[in-house]
């Protein structure tokens, strides 16, 4: 119990601490690196709760592929850009932080009410049995290719649509070096 709780405490501190650090990091690269730290901590939280396959996918797809894509685009657009500090709407930031604190207070209250309630369910034993007998990956695959077969197919279509969309958006067409998005309207002057 105490060892389990100590591990959870580490996960909690790393995950929440690096997400808070994302808020205050000025450099976009630092934000991305803090996000990677939070995602690795979350992978550990998945692991703790018996979601072995999801934990591995979290590291490979999220912390690996998606964050590399983010860092690539940050490098492409220039690393040294600072976030603008002007507020277009007066008091918008203060209001956002206030509402965020309110939401956090609500969540902590609800979770504190629910801790005893949800601890009583026998879900741990049932999930442990599933992870033991067919195994986590086998059980996931059986579910994915039987009950969730149609959503799985839709997932494939979604990825194809995304690939085609990115090619249309990003490809430079013609000798002028303009993309489709640029050719539809006259090019605007870059604001200084």
């Amino acid at each position: 119990m105490t060892v389990d709780f100590a591990i959870f405490a580490i996960v909690f501190v790393v995950a929440l601490g690096s997400s808070m650090a994302m808020l205050f990091a000025k450099n976009a690269v630092h934000v991305a690196l803090f996000l990677v730290a939070a995602q690795v901590a979350l992978a550990l939280a998945f692991l703790l709760q018996g979601a072995f396959f999801i934990a591995a996918i979290q590291i490979i797809v999220y912390a690996g592929a998606i964050m590399v894509l983010f860092l690539f685009v940050i490098m492409l657009l220039g690393v040294d850009r600072r976030d603008a500090l002007v507020e277009p709407l007066a008091g918008q930031r203060a209001l956002a932080v206030g509402l965020g604190l309110l939401l956090a207070a609500e969540i902590v209250y609800v979770a504190a009410r629910g801790v005893d309630l949800v601890a009583a369910t026998g879900g741990d034993r049932a999930l442990g049995a599933i992870n033991e007998d067919p195994g986590n990956v086998v059980a996931l695959a059986r579910l994915l290719f039987s009950r969730y077969l149609l959503p799985f197919e839709v997932t494939g279509v979604t990825l194809v649509v995304a690939i085609v969309g990115v090619m249309v958006l990003a490809k430079r067409i013609g000798r002028m070096g303009t993309s489709v998005a640029e050719r539809t309207e006259p090019r605007e002057e870059v604001p200084v």
Binding site: A126, L143, V161
Partner: protein, 102 residues
């Protein structure tokens, strides 16, 4: 499996979601806003995994799988849009993209 009650994981997920929502509202750089959206998606994934554990089945983990795929597609399209905007105005600040503003 851990003996820590699921409620603690739900609290962690909720707090991370809150940080993500505040970040989307506060930050101005389009890429940084995108990363906070990813943080919110991750927090919700933790909730799904926790609910799967509470119910003693792995349907929640299948949902996390779908969320991952949708997030990957969304990131790819979103970053392409940001790059397209950047090509036009050499700026990733969301406030400068106000052409459709009334």
């Amino acid at each position: 499996m851990t003996s820590v009650a699921p409620g603690y994981f739900l609290a962690l997920a909720g707090l991370m979601f809150t940080v993500g929502a505040v970040g989307v509202l506060v930050r101005r750089n389009a890429i940084v806003i995108f990363m906070f959206v990813e943080l919110m998606l991750n927090a919700v994934n933790l909730m799904f995994v926790t609910f799967a554990r509470m119910h003693g089945n792995i349907d929640g983990q299948v949902v996390v799988f779908f969320v991952l795929v949708v997030a990957a597609a969304e990131v790819v399209i979103g970053l392409a849009i940001i790059v397209a905007i950047f090509r036009r105005r050499a700026d990733a600040n969301v406030d400068t993209a106000n052409l459709l503003k009334w």
